[in-house]
């Protein structure tokens, strides 16, 4: 055994000893997956099923016009007035068949009346189906057993994931964040052992417990399905499902340990690890969406891909290729998370709970803050901005620009204790720079068209790319306001202002322009628009760099968008050709002129 492996084993053994003496660990790792979840899940289903059976067995009085076939648990009584009979409680529900369909009366004050109504509606529905069946006969080839297995396959990833996360979360917080609070991490750090090995040992502990809880959860799910829910699941299938899930255990253990290492105390640890708890569950739930199937491509989706693979395995339809892709891809994600985690864990500011960013900022390095800003901007656009725009495109655009991007751009330097004016470079610019911005802004649509044409040679854009992106029948002034002026101001403050201002704290300004442009390209969330918007970002970046101000770039950005809106409004079709090439050249020349 190598020296490093021996140290890892010593740390893991000691951590295991400590945690196995903690009653809460045992409860979360063993009792909960093995007993509590089956009781809550399958046991709950059995209780509901039995009480439903009991209720179904009770015979209820109903009235119908005319008489039609009723199930055994409904007894027909003849009454003069259907509605009055329901109101005075003579019958629990009543139905009258009409030429259009049927009318059903029931009394919401009476619990049995709801049951009677449901049974009547079922009876009426069967009657209708029998009549329709004379015309069309349908038969589902899926057997009940297969349907049950498919449902179990959808639910099993969620059960395994939830058990893994709840068990791993507590262990990671206790073993890393808790040690910071108790001062024992300092005790370990004053030994001769490499810090990465210390955290590596802790990761192995989290992995041991997440794997244990996953295996136990698999066993209890199999027992519950087989003996409580009468679902025909073979032990081999569940074993394969659990094995498929192991990369997920590695991935999430690494993420949980890294998040716990980043936190300075238990409270901040809980805040930091909450997204780790919620996001994977949401991604796994994505596998339950209708129409989402396992393919070699969907198998690549983090968490969702593996949840889909599990669903297929349990329902008995797993094709080898997508399963292998999902397994290998998640193994790769886990490996990546481990590498990132080990780098993070090697940093003493992180491991000691002092703010690592503070030391970076002390050295005047704000690049990590720029990336954080970018991540927040992306998430706010994707989750809030796009939702708002789907509800109302104009109000949504105004909300996205003024309600999200502008506050983000202004709040970031303020939060970091920097000058807002200097970071965003809200400075006066000479007239020459404004003229340059006008020329570049007017030429940008041509340049974007040329880039789009070049990209189209490799990656042809679908003809529907811009369909529905802008509203029709909207006055031109509104198009200009919502799609040119506001993005011109707010996106420039966000990208060429805040992001660029933070990134250029280190490295050359030229590199900062390129990185800002890459971020700007990614931000537009479209493979086909990435290169045109990135090139647009490069030019706007140089406009801003040359003028030492964010303001001329706003004009150029607004002009570019505004020209596109005018073309849309008047139905002009911008075609690729020599005029566009010349226009693109003008933009570049305008930038290099002194």
């Amino acid at each position: 055994m190598s020296a490093a492996a021996r140290v890892l084993w010593v740390i893991l053994r000691s951590e295991l000893r400590q945690h196995l003496r903690d009653p809460l660990t045992l409860v979360l790792m063993v009792i909960v997956p093995l007993v509590v979840y089956p009781l809550l899940g399958a046991g709950g289903s059995v209780v509901v099923k039995r009480s439903q059976e009991k209720a179904d067995a009770e015979v209820l009085d109903v009235a119908t016009e005319p008489a039609f076939a009723l199930p055994d648990n409904l007894r027909r009584i003849d009454v003069p007035d259907l509605e009055a009979a329901v109101r005075d409680g003579t019958v629990m529900a009543a139905a009258r068949r009409t030429t259009e369909g049927a009318e059903v009366w029931w009394d919401s004050r009476e619990p049995d009346s709801l049951d009677a109504r449901t049974r009547l509606r079922t009876a009426l529905s069967k009657l209708r189906k029998r009549e329709a069946a004379r015309v069309v006969k349908t038969k589902d080839t899926m057997t009940n057993a297969e349907r049950a297995r498919q449902t179990a396959g959808g639910v099993l990833p969620l059960v395994l994931l939830f058990t893994l996360l709840t068990g791993g979360l507590y262990t990671a917080l206790d073993v890393v964040t808790g040690e910071k609070e108790r001062g024992t991490i300092e005790t370990l750090l004053t030994t001769a052992v490499d810090r990465r090995l210390i955290l590596g040992g802790k990761f192995l502990l989290v992995l041991s417990f997440t794997t244990l809880s996953t295996v136990l959860s698999g066993v209890s799910s199999w027992l519950s399905a087989r003996y409580l829910l009468d679902i025909d699941l073979s032990a081999g299938v569940v074993t394969l499902a659990v094995l498929l899930f192991l990369p997920m255990a590695v991935l999430l253990s690494a993420v949980l340990t890294a998040a716990a290492a980043w936190a300075s105390d238990f409270k901040s640890g809980q805040v930091l690890t909450t997204p780790v708890l919620v996001v994977p569950l949401l991604l796994a739930a994505g596998a339950l969406l209708p129409g989402v199937a396992l393919t070699p491509v969907t198998a690549l989706l983090p968490v969702t891909g593996l949840a889909l693979a599990l669903r297929e395995v349990v329902s008995g339809h797993g094709a080898p290729l997508p399963l292998a892709v999902g397994f290998v891809a998640h193994g790769a994600y886990a490996f990546g998370a481990l590498i990132l985690g080990s780098r993070l864990m090697g940093r003493e500011d992180v491991i000691l709970g002092s703010r690592g960013s503070s030391q970076r900022r002390l050295r005047g390095d704000y690049r990590a803050d720029a990336l954080t800003l970018f991540a927040i901007a992306c998430l706010s656009l994707w989750f809030l901005g796009q939702t708002a725009q789907a509800l109302d495109i104009r109000a949504g655009m105004a909300f996205t620009q003024v309600g999200l991007f502008l506050p983000l751009a202004l709040a970031t330097p303020w939060w970091l204790g920097l000058s807002i004016v200097d970071t965003l470079r809200i400075h006066r610019a000479p007239l020459r720079e404004w003229l340059r911005a006008v020329v570049v802004g007017v030429s940008l649509p041509g340049l974007a068209l040329c880039v789009g044409e070049l990209v189209g040679l490799v990656l042809p854009a679908p003809s529907s790319l811009f369909e529905g992106m802008f509203p029709e029948d909207v006055p031109l002034w509104q198009l200009l306001l919502f799609f040119a002026v506001l993005p011109g101001i707010c996106e420039e403050l966000l990208f060429r202002g805040a992001f660029f201002g933070l990134w250029r704290s280190r490295g050359t300004p030229g590199l900062a322009v390129v990185v800002t442009a890459l971020a700007f390209g990614f931000f537009h969330l479209s493979l086909f628009r990435f290169f045109p918007t990135m090139v647009l970002g490069v030019l706007l970046g140089f406009v801003s760099l040359r003028s030492r101000s964010v303001l001329p770039g706003m004009l150029a950005h607004a002009l570019n968008n505004g020209l596109a809106m005018v073309a849309l409004s008047y139905g002009w079709s911008l075609e690729f050709g020599w005029p566009m090439v010349v226009t693109a050249a003008v933009a570049v020349v305008a930038l290099v002129l002194p």
């Binding site: 000691s14 024992t184 005790t187 004053t190 001769a192 000691l352 900022r361 002390l362």
Partner: protein, 244 residues
């Protein structure tokens, strides 16, 4: 054994402003010597000791401990030191015996169990050697902490205010241990803000205030320099003389 030159370390305070915790501290300590690091709370004593223990890296300056550079050979430095502070905790769910074996193993001792047994006797903790640390009294825990810090018998001891929270009897045992360590040629760097401790234990003292070394020498030399008799008065004179 310890040589520090111009150590500097800054942090960001709660208002987001940089604060220089240690500003160019230079000091040395030799084998068979106890050097006291004297200063009020927030003077920079702990930050200096944490840099010497490689828990945090200096922003600038250099330091060598037992011949190893704190930047380029941190593992060797840690193997050569016994570090103890009020904030170093014990593993509550392990017994003192398990803690000692664990730390000795991590420090690379091949005879970890034998060293742990010897430490149980040396610090008179054998009788509760199999009780988990959570269930020990504060004094007992502190004894285990001292044993933990020196279980690998390092040549350099860095003790940061080790008597805070100790009762008189345990403190006396600690002093006796440090005096014995000095006799055995160990180098001890001992921080405190209690003048009586420094007077009793230290061969030399380094007075530190606001991250800056104000004076260093034997207690007798500092008395002559300030013209004061009691160490408290010497200390106050030095600090007031430096106060902005």
């Amino acid at each position: 054994m310890i040589v520090a030159e111009g150590l500097r370390k800054a942090f960001i305070n709660g208002e987001g402003q940089p604060v220089l915790a240690v500003d160019g501290v230079s000091l040395d300590a030799h084998a068979g010597e106890i050097v006291g690091l004297l200063g009020p709370n927030g003077a920079g004593k702990s930050t200096t000791m944490r840099m010497l223990s490689t828990l945090i890296a200096p922003d600038s300056g250099s330091a060598r401990v037992a011949g190893h550079d704190v930047r380029s050979a941190p593992a060797e430095v840690r193997r050569s030191i016994g570090y103890l502070s009020a904030s170093t905790g014990l593993f509550g769910r392990l017994t003192p015996r398990e803690v000692l074996v664990y730390v000795a193993t991590l420090q690379g001792c091949v005879d970890a169990e034998a060293r742990a047994e010897a430490s149980l006797d040396r610090f008179d903790i054998r009788k509760f050697g199999n009780v988990t640390c959570d269930r020990l009294s504060t004094g007992m825990k502190q004894k285990v902490s001292i044993a933990r810090a020196v279980v690998h018998d390092p040549p350099v001891l860095i003790f940061d205010e080790p008597t805070s929270g100790l009762d008189v009897l345990v403190a006396q045992e600690l002093f006796a241990f440090l005096e014995e360590a000095r006799k055995r040629g160990r180098c001890v760097l001992y921080s405190t803000h209690i003048m009586g401790e420094a007077e009793r234990l230290c061969d030399r003292v380094v007075v530190i205030h606001a991250g800056v070394v104000l004076a260093s020498g034997t207690v007798a030399e500092l008395r002559v320099r300030t013209g004061r008799e009691r160490l408290e008065e010497v200390f106050v004179q030095l600090v007031r003389g430096h106060a902005p």
